[in-house]
Subunit: 271 residues, 2 copies
């Protein structure tokens, strides 16, 4: 998916919502457990109920790997089921030495059908560029994450006064094919979204942390939007676990609809 | 596996060698491709041929994920096949927000039979501690990696003069259950191994980069050993691809034997 296609999709759907598909067996409604692949059946119903309200889906690989081989099968089926009109983001936070990052890129971009992959920056340029070498695919680099521990290293200030997350933003924009970079910027740092936008004016941000983690959508939109919108705001637990009975997909839709309406208002207000 | 058991094993085998199991289909000998699971058959023969010469095996998950569901099956079979006398390190470089790191820990420590997992530090304390919460399991935290890009962020010096890798070493030693932390320290920084040892005197280092990446075993041992040896030196491609014909396992054994003999000499010389 190209940037122009993504932006057009956002304008059309009036939404910059990404739905996080993080299935935990214990939280999946009982009636699905009788089926052959409860995780996929859960995801399929969530996707059917929300696809006109969002522009991206983001399965986090951890929840599939926790289920072993069967989980990896569910991940593959889920990525294949997401409509091609939507950005398929594998939230895997990978990154390794060059030949190994290349193997990861093949795993997600060739063996699986992901359009985008989250990548950790700690190992530097040659751990990230192998992912960027895949045309039409996106790398979503961790910059300023949503968790409490984001302060431990990401906020470290160097001798010149630059924080580590700012350095990651600055240096990575020099990588080959950096036009296919997006950044993870947590919604739990609303005071910093404007700063981050000034450091990476043209790139999309994938913003987790709205909902269960407490981030504020309005603050994110008002400080984070650029001329191309430039935001994908993710909600996982707040949507997929909005209900827990046979009507879980309807409850998920209601929760997604609430966010989509807020987003439509923000799109007309800010732009 | 406890630290005492690992140290006893090293003394007994006269080896601190870790064999990296990074199978690439194109490099696996032709005759194995006729079998049902070439990757496992390759690993099984490497393990049989080297287990008396090493104390640990380290499959890197990238090379299994690149093969999809079948690759994850090969990974599971490989981890199950490694003898319980040897440390089973899943080189996965995971790390995410708390509930997600917990899911990854379940994936590798419960669903798979790994004893240890490599973890990336960028997201801070609450991304690492969920892995440390598993008794008898080890977390191998990236500190100073072996690749060229390790200089990009890990060498950044803060206002107080501390490099990022040194900060990772210092702060992580305060984590709950930090006695079950090891650190990834690349052999490609021989001038820094002594510094790193002074910053983490009691912890084991997993040292990649000897062999294909050019690191020097003697320099690593002389500057990196502590009273418990404290080193696991990994070689992947230098061992598993030492040969490419039907005798690949014998060639792998020869390559591992060369390293083991050097290690035996260094163990008696340094300790």
């Amino acid at each position: 998916m190209t940037k122009n296609e993504l932006v057009a999709r956002i304008r059309e759907q009036q939404s910059f919502l990404c739905v996080g598909l993080d299935p935990v067996l214990e939280r999946i409604p009982a009636f699905l457990h009788e089926m052959d692949d409860p995780v996929f059946e859960f995801n399929r119903r969530i996707i059917d109920a929300t696809k006109d309200l969002c522009v991206a889906y983001k399965p986090n690989t951890a929840f599939y790997e926790a289920l072993g081989v069967k989980g990896w099968e569910s991940l593959q089926k889920t990525l294949d089921y997401i409509p091609d009109t939507h950005l398929k983001i594998a939230d895997a936070k990978r990154g390794d030495i060059g030949n190994t990052s290349k193997a990861y890129a093949k795993a997600f971009f060739e063996s699986l059908s992901a359009d985008a992959l989250t990548v950790a920056p700690y190992m530097g340029r040659d751990s990230v560029e192998p992912f960027l070498a895949f045309p039409d695919k996106w790398v979503v680099l961790l910059a300023l994450t949503s968790n409490a521990g984001s302060g431990d290293f990401q906020m470290t200030t160097d001798a010149a006064g630059e924080t580590l997350y700012a350095k990651v933003l600055r240096i990575s924009q020099e990588y080959k094919d950096a036009d296919r970079l997006m950044y993870v910027i947590g919604a739990t740092h609303p005071d910093l979204i404007g700063t981050v936008r000034s450091l990476a004016p043209d790139h999309f941000f994938l913003v987790p942390g709205v909902g269960a983690q407490g981030g504020d959508l309005e603050a994110v939109a008002k400080q984070g939007m650029n001329k191309d919108v430039g935001l994908l705001v993710n909600s996982s637990r707040g949507i997929i676990y909005a209900g827990e009975g046979t009507d879980f997909a309807e409850r998920a839709r209601e929760s997604a609809l609430t966010l989509q309406k807020q987003m439509a208002a923000l799109l007309s207000e800010v732009n």
